[in-house]
């Protein structure tokens, strides 16, 4: 059973005025079968955590560890992390002109599995994954994310999640910019993934809205680069009622 362990993670970015620390000691353990929600105000470092785990070169890990089943994730290249079983659904998926979705998905699947998928079942799998996310099969012939609406980009991320089927999925504000119908469709995809039982989900969100459709086992409130409070689903309900006010006041003292 997969376990992602984050211990005392400190991360900084380079700015004009020198390095700026964004994560200030994050501890988090996500085991298979669990869904964790990270909530927090803008600028609290939620996305930095997601991109640091995935290995974006912009973020410098200054101390701490991230391991997946005991393996040192921080020592891996970005693609090695993905092949080890990590997946990041991005807030702003990138356009790749001239590369078709079909080619992209097949190339990624081949890289993750170490062998090309069986042609006959693969085409069926892709079409099913697309239609499950309410995307027309013709998306396969379009260029990756090029000309996609915001909602289509997010749904395309979940198509990839289902096809690549990682051990741990990190969803960075997958709910942002989605209307209620798209939010339901995306949530169903995440729930299908999680319902396999041996998968871990780290759901990063600013709003509680998506938590009506994806039930977290644990909720972590992120403030100023670290976890300020942890609890069960009831913590999300409290945030729904009261917002981040009391955390911001505490952080500002």
């Amino acid at each position: 059973m997969a376990t992602l362990e984050i211990r005392d993670l400190h991360v900084s970015v380079d700015t004009e005025n020198g390095p700026k620390e964004i994560l200030r000691g994050v501890d988090l353990t996500i085991a298979a079968g669990q869904t964790h929600a990270i909530m927090g105000p803008n600028g609290s470092g939620k996305s930095t955590l997601a991109y640091s785990i995935a290995g974006h070169p912009k973020y410098n890990i200054t101390s701490g560890t991230v391991t997946l089943d005991g393996e040192d994730v921080l020592d891996m290249a970005v693609d090695e992390r993905a092949r080890a079983g990590l997946f990041l659904a991005m807030q702003y998926p990138v356009e790749v002109p001239g590369v078709s979705v079909a080619n992209f998905l097949r190339t990624a699947k081949t890289a993750i599995d170490g062998e090309a998928p069986k042609l006959r079942t693969w085409v069926k799998d892709v079409n099913k994954a697309l239609s499950d996310l309410d995307m027309d099969p013709s998306f396969g012939q379009r260029n990756v994310n090029e000309g996609f609406s915001g909602g289509e980009k997010k749904r395309h991320e979940i198509v990839q999640l289902e096809l690549l089927n990682p051990k741990i999925a990190i969803l960075d504000e997958t709910d942002s910019g989605l209307d209620i119908d798209a939010l339901k469709i995306v949530s169903e995809g995440v729930n299908r993934f999680a319902s396999q039982g041996d998968k871990g989900v780290l759901l990063i969100t600013h709003y509680t809205r998506i938590l009506r459709y994806i039930k977290p086992d644990f909720v972590h409130v992120f403030v100023d680069g670290r976890v300020a409070e942890e609890g069960g689903p009831e913590l999300a309900e409290e945030l729904e009622a009261n917002g981040y006010e009391r955390f911001l006041k505490a952080g500002a003292k």
């Binding site: 290995g55 290249a77 693609d79 190339t107 993750i112 690549l164």
Partner: protein, 400 residues
Amino acid sequence: MSAAETLVATGNKAHSHGPGSPVPLQARSERPTSYDVADFAVPNGREEEWRFTPVKQLKALFEDAAGTETPKVDASGPEGVVFETVAADSLKVGKPQDRSAAIAWTHAGEALAVRIPVEAELTEPVHVNVASLGGRGFSHLIVEAGRHSRAIVIIDHTGAGELSSNVEVVVGDGAELRVVSIQQADHESIHLAQHDALVGRDAKLHHVVVTLGGKIVRIGTNVRYAGPGGDAELLGVYFAEGGQHHENRLFVDHEATNCKSNVLYKGALAGDHARSVWIGDVLIRAAAEGTNTFELNRNLVLTDGARADSVPNLEIETGEIEGAGHASATGRFDDEQLFYLQARGIPEDAARRLVVSGFFNDIIGKIGVPEVTEHLHDVIEEKLARAAELSASAKAVVGQ
């Protein structure tokens, strides 16, 4: 490309068409042409048409003297195609626009003419190979597609040496001709060329310039229309590596009515002093009502130390046109694309290949000659592998 695209270098500093724009010293149509070498001084690099070119390395090709070799020209094609040797000035569709073209015209002496008979529909491409043999030489080709014919002519430039060439293309009324000129001589070679095409009434020309090899390759392509309804699609692909200079200069002269031109040139650059130049001149004369033209140049800069210049120019003398536009963009390799692909498990080198092949994908799809596109694909892969080695060794040096 994405919004993250950055402008690296364009020849015209600001993009302005409004009042106060600098007036060119000379309209494109007024640039002199001549068959007489004496009408062109030896370029010093300050001339408009030479200002991007490393003229100091072209001394031998500016010398008004016979070649030290005759390049080896082999031609073959399906039944019906006629090959014959003719006098250089038997057609005169082309007229040299610079010194090197005039010298090539004079000293090639003869031309190889490839004639596609009237109404012939060729099922196989015609192949012409021009091989430089190590010296300084000249070549002259004439391609004439008869009325209502359909054909593909592939001109492959190989070998090593200094070559200056003229290519004249005539597309008969209602004909469809595809001419592909491939430049892949060895690393130290120099190739200067002028292509002139005359597109007949309701005829269609696809002209494709593929530059993969050579230290300096400079191709001027000029298109005119012999009657209304002509259509010219001008495509170019280049990939300049360290120390290579790939230059393409286009001039589409719209004088007949209801003609179309569509220019698409795409290039990649990798390595120290990799250099590309693209000049796209389009002139819509007062008589050319109903013209529809668009030109686009895109450059993808893969490493530091490379430079792409891109200068589109549009002169319009009538408002009675269907459309006219141009676009140019030079972007660096987008690291966010790389991150996205790697985050899906795709190794870095494969991700780079995917992004670059994606960049060239649309233009390669338009070339429409499988043997050319397959070869192009292979050579791009080789060049990317070399670029990857370069950046890996650069990283190793930085990391020390």
